[in-house]
């Protein structure tokens, strides 16, 4: 199946406009959802197709089978390793049991996964991820092992150490009575944080109404159809021209009703989904903000620890203590960790600056497309309805 660029996300297209084979390219797509398994264990699997000329990949084309939790694995890996970058959002995990296997839901999820993968593959940093390559190429058995190993509270050893260190410093802070939240005092960043949190609220509300609007279209379609049926029956009580008029009205109402149902579906896919995606993207930014706060705290604490160690070392030097060697080693270790933490933090700050610009630009495009599709859809619907009713009116006038 030909890969088609995601309909409503410009930022989700990994297609490059020029495609002479000399240019490096990485095209991905998620297609062919298939229900597997039985009962409670049932799940959907997707085909993921990769077409590329990049040397890191095993060949020009690869097809693998993946399921939702594989995508979750990839997302978590990226989140861990690319701090500072707004990882593209995944479609939501929990779905109401009843709707988990409706055609509508399956298609919406497939689309969202396709967009996710495309965004990853077109991000200048994320596309280089080893985990991405793994995801796109390894066979299902390997994937299953990775998935089982990685998901959940199981963290890598390095991370484990970090957690202990965090706890340690936190405890000492409490003991020393200086338990104050360490936060950046950057007014521009403060503004950004406030903006992000507020934005989520506004978007969530808009999305809520968008979803309701979809429902309203369906309801209007249904009641128009029922009304048409009742009119037809009423017409059969009357005779001649009036009866015919009623029956024409009934027929027309049916047509309009069908059109309304179609529009409801369009609205869902082309407007409500993009809005939901927007909300999720903002939540991803919030997650990054949280990570940055962590990174900042570590950087601060380790810097403090370095200072303390330095002072301690100086003291020991003066008294020529035999503990000096040990202290020196410790000092070197902590200094290295601190420098690492500081670099990590500063990288995050730099990356976030770029990311925010990209984010805003992409969202303007995405929303522009969404608004266009909404308006276009509504205009078409209305014109359709006008034409339909107009035809009937001409008949009635006769």
């Amino acid at each position: 199946m030909e890969h088609q660029p995601p309909p409503w996300s410009v930022s989700g297209s990994s297609q490059s406009p020029r495609s002479p084979s000399s240019q490096p390219y990485l095209h991905v797509s998620v297609i062919d959802p298939v229900k597997l398994g039985n009962g409670v264990q049932a799940y959907i699997s997707y085909r993921v197709i990769t077409k590329t000329n990049l040397p890191e990949y095993h060949g020009p084309e690869k097809i693998v089978i993946r399921r939702y939790s594989d995508f979750v694995w990839l997302h978590e890996c990226l989140f861990e390793k690319y701090k500072g970058i707004f990882i593209p959002p995944l479609p939501e995990k929990n779905a109401v049991e009843k709707f988990r296997f409706t055609a509508e839901f399956i298609e919406m999820r497939r689309l969202a996964l396709d967009i996710f993968l495309n965004r990853v593959a077109s991000h200048h940093k994320l596309r280089q991820s080893e985990d991405l390559r793994t995801f796109l190429q390894v066979d299902e058995a390997v994937m299953e092992r990775l998935r089982a190993h990685e998901t959940g509270i199981f963290k890598k050893p390095v991370e484990l150490m970090q957690i202990f260190k965090d706890v340690q410093s936190k405890v000492s802070n409490v003991v020393l009575g200086k338990e104050k939240p360490v936060e950046e005092s950057n007014s521009e960043y403060e503004k950004l944080k406030h903006y992000v949190f507020e934005l989520e609220n506004h978007l969530a509300e808009a999305q809520k109404h968008a979803y309701r609007l979809v429902k309203r279209h369906r309801e209007l379609g249904k009641s128009l159809s029922d009304f048409g049926k009742a009119m037809k029956l009423l017409g059969s009580c009357e005779g001649d021209s009036l009866g015919r008029a009623f029956s024409e009205l009934g027929a027309k109402s049916d047509l309009v009703s069908v059109r309304l149902q179609k529009e409801a579906q369009q609205l869902l896919m082309n407007f409500e989904e993009p809005l939901k995606d927007y909300v999720l993207a903002v939540q991803s930014i919030k997650a990054t903000i949280a990570e940055r706060a962590n990174a900042f705290r570590q950087h601060c604490e380790l810097s403090e620890t370095v200072k303390l160690k330095e002072i301690n070392l100086e003291k020991l030097k003066l008294i020529h203590s035999d503990k000096m060697r040990e202290a020196e080693d410790e000092y070197k270790e902590v200094k290295e960790a601190s420098e690492k933490a500081t670099r990590r933090y500063e990288t995050m700050v730099r990356l976030m600056k770029e990311e925010i610009i990209q984010f805003q630009e992409h969202k303007t495009l995405d929303m522009g497309v969404a608004f266009h599709n909404f308006a276009d859809g509504q205009a078409r619907l209305a014109n359709n309805m006008a034409d339909g009713w107009r035809g009937l009116l001409a008949k009635l006038e006769a």
Binding site: V10, S13, K191, E198, L199, H202, L203, E205, A206, K208, H209, A210, R212, L213, R216, H217, E219, L220, K222, S223, L224, D226, F227, A230, M231, L233, L234, C237, E238, L242, A245, F246, L249, I356, I357, Q360, E361, K363, T364, L365, M367, G368, V369, F371, H372, N373, F374, A375, D376, Q378, A379, A382, N383, M385, A386, W389, R390, L392, L393, L396
Partner: protein
Amino acid sequence: MMGAENKGHDYEEAHLFASKEEMESLVLHEHPFNSNSNGNGNFFSSYGSAMSSSLPDSHHPLSSSVATAILTDSDPLLSPPPYPELHGPSSHDNSYIEPPSYADVIFSPFHGEDINSLESPSLSSINSPMSFSRTSSSNSEYIRITVSNPQKEQETSNSIVPGGNTYFTYLITTRTNIPEFVATEFSVRRRFRDVVTLSDRLAESYRGFFIPPRPDKNVMESQMMQKQEFVEQRRLALEKYLRRLSEHPMIKKSDELKVFLQVQGKLPLPTSTDVASRMLDGAVKLPKQLLGESTVAPHEVVQPAKGGRDLLRLFKELKQSMVNDWSGSRPLVVEEDKEFLEKKEKMHDLEQQLSSSSQQAESLVKAQQDMGETMGELGLAFIKLTKFENEEAVFNSQRARVLDMKNFATAAVKASRFYRELNLHTVKHLDALHGHLGLMLAVHSAFTDRTSALLTVQTLLTELASLQSRSEKLEAASSKVFGGDKTRIRKMEELKETMRVTEDAKNVAIREYERIKENNRIELERLDKERHTDFLSMLKGFVANQVGYAEKIANVWGRVAEETSGYVKESI
């Protein structure tokens, strides 16, 4: 991002939307968003209150326009174009001041009511299309009744309850050019009890006619609602009822109605007595009736037995109806008119379909209303978002987005208004369904009149037959006794007298029955014709509205689609 900045300039003019448009009062700051722009962009004009009514509350003096509409002989669907002042003074948004489309023409005359309070489309104060279509075709006579100004009054007579009984009176104003009325404009005050009286007297005088049913007494509900709500509901119901009465060709000229509408002070119509006192009166008379020879006076025969005081007659007719139903024998006179029986069936079917149509119409109206509301809420949410983004904008990409969002939000709010306007009109048109459903009650009554008149005839015939046989028996017996028994002779004479009276009564009853049959027939014809006219006009009106508003909505969104078309070309 290409083109986003260029777009900004083009948007400047398009953004000077009518501030008169009623939207929520969110003041968006003026923001010289670009060093390139000339900062005069009054982009973010202040919006008035958004989600309230769809039409600004300009109170049009209805009567003049309605009068013109009715008095001209033309089809009301093509009456003069809309009021330009219906819409905001700003001429930037040209979609409002366009050549009259059907939607503009079929406007709802808001009769001084506050539109904001009309949350649910229960606009019975709006002149229904039923009267529009019918009166325009008649010889330009019109009558228009308004019920207003409910006032609380005290019961002046000695009431049992200390502190007095209070009740409400309503001002009933009539405007008419019908010569049978004394003036062209006059008012009276009436209470609900008077309306009940009017309705009862009409029922007596116009047996066999389809008399519009009066509003219910609603004792239970009056306890449940707030007094004000109840009074308002009753006022509306009374207005609707009186208007329907005034549309009926016979009743509008009736004495009862004339008296009701014109005579000041106490209503000079005989009041109906309640069931209890009637029964009491009847019970008092009964013994005498049983002992003596009872007859039904001919003049009483023109009214059904049920509502009267003559218990004996009631029993007799009851017995007769049971005989009709249960005994094998055919009564002496039956409903023979095949055409009528067919018609009755048809009416029954019609009623069922009307009922279900009426229900579906309600659902449709609700769905349209919801659509408008949600669209409006969506628009509002985006207006808030626009304001927010505008305040916090750091990047140009955001500012471009703000423009798009604002266009979108404005369009959504406009579309929402259109939906609500459409709905107001839809309600008005589909009201014909409810109206005719209501009339079915009147049809039932009229058919019942016929049935009870027939029953009276049958009873009298049976009675006559039994009197006849008694008389024959008496004659046979007396012929055996020689010399003539004085008592027997007297009895025979009494019997003969009774028979004569009963014969008269029978004749009157038969005449009455025939009269009612004829009334039924005339009314059925009239109703069919009126229903046809009303329904045709309803269909046309409904469809025309859909066309008109669909066009308007298409326009609004079409423009937004165009303005954002750049995005779609970009992403390909």
